[in-house]
């Protein structure tokens, strides 16, 4: 447990100076919600960083002010209920992430894909923690995924793949998203299924033999997932 916390603690400086990629950033913000000591230090370090910025202050040209005010007067504002990575950390969030993943587990000889044993139980923080650790792996590789504003991150070193994002559209009734691993020989191996929560957040994590994967696909499948893709492909990432 301490090793985990140290692992995340080490990201505090990078978080404060904005040196985390999008996925690490979102995952770390979620971690902050769980960890008071990180939160306290984050407040201090982000203020130190704000001082670095203040020290650069340069008066902008006067015309900028009127341009900004003009733009502001015609810009609609978001309402407080809309979610955003910086807001989400405050509310306790739950991902119905890997429900049904076990059901769709395919035994593929030699491929060696297994699922992390998270479900929609109370242990969401463990899932979040695992995703943070994955995202901060030295070889973590983040790719955009066209489901709302989402990323897929993989690490060959950890042999894990995560999907995380927000503003994901809700699939039709009785359907959910499913991730597929397209292997070297062209077969699509079933990955976890996942659903957006009420705010449109998605998060899923899976062990995967990353070295043998050539592409990722996401389809919409009947609840519980399928053994091979049957539904529409909504996103894909070719490696």
């Amino acid at each position: 447990m301490n090793a985990d916390i140290d692992g995340e603690h080490s990201l505090l400086g990078s978080y404060a100076v904005g040196a985390l990629d999008d996925l690490e950033f979102a995952a770390f913000e979620r971690h902050l919600e769980q960890c008071e000591s990180c939160r306290d230090e984050a407040l201090e370090l982000t203020d130190a960083v704000a001082a670095l910025a203040d020290a650069q202050a340069v008066a902008p040209p006067a015309a900028l002010r009127s341009r900004v005010m003009q733009e502001v007067s015609r810009t609609a504002q978001v309402t407080p209920t809309l979610r955003h990575p910086t807001v989400s950390a405050v509310r306790r969030r739950r991902w119905p992430a890997l429900v049904g993943a076990a059901a769709s587990l395919l035994a593929v000889a030699g491929v060696g894909i297994t699922y992390a044993t998270h479900d929609a139980g109370p242990d969401v923080s463990a899932l979040e923690r695992s995703v943070v650790m994955l995202a901060s792996a030295p070889d973590a590789h983040s790719m955009e995924l066209a489901i709302g504003s989402s990323h897929l991150v993989m690490s060959e070193h950890m042999d894990e793949v995560a999907v995380m994002g927000h503003e994901a559209p809700m699939p039709a009734d009785g359907m959910e998203y499913q991730l597929w691993f397209v292997m070297e020989d062209g077969t699509a191996v079933a990955g976890p299924t996942f659903m957006p929560d009420k705010s449109g957040d998605i998060m899923a994590l899976s062990d995967a033999d990353c070295a043998k994967i050539t592409a990722f696909e996401v389809t919409v499948e009947p609840q519980g997932g399928s053994e091979s893709p049957t539904g529409d492909m909504v996103a894909s990432v070719v490696l």
């Binding site: 080490s10 400086g13 100076v17 904005g18 040196a19 001082a51 203040d54 340069v58 900004v68």
Partner: protein
Amino acid sequence: MSEKRSLRIVRDTPSAPDSPPDADERAAALSRDLIACARGDERAFESLYDAISGSVFGVTLRIVRDRAIAEEVAQEALVEVWRIAARYQPDKGSARSWILTIAHRRAVDRVRSEQAHSDRLLTHGRHFDASHEQPDDVVDVAYGRWEADRVRQGLDTLTARQKEALELTYFKGYTNKELAEALGIPLGTAKARIRDGLIKLRDSWEER
């Protein structure tokens, strides 16, 4: 508009004062303004603009190194602050740092998207071209002058490597992974350098 502006107090201190110019009060005022912005209060936004646009413009200029682009980025960032003001949560951090984070991310994104055309990020040289336009004397940069002195003194307590880590990540937009790669150091060392540097900076001010 011009009538309103002429009534504004122009804080124009030629040299940096020894003590923080009411740092707590300024922080509280900015937080109040930002919260009022969330309710659609444009006057509160004007006041927020005057308090922070100097820092927003300064930091974007430092990152994108081009005055015209910095103006665009600063404008986008400030309008974004207005647009998503409702998402600011006072218990999670200061209004100042929330706004500057938005500006920083925009500036870094801009540099990254321009990288396809040029290697601006890696180019060294002049930070920006001189402007032919009059600077906005309503905007508060006196705080920045005081802060610049404080930051300079704080940075003096850092090792050269810690300073380099902050420079490359915050002002050049490197991620911690890119930092590790650029310097040929393990990722863990890179993360520690950034964090240790910031902790030293913070501690240097607490001791004073």
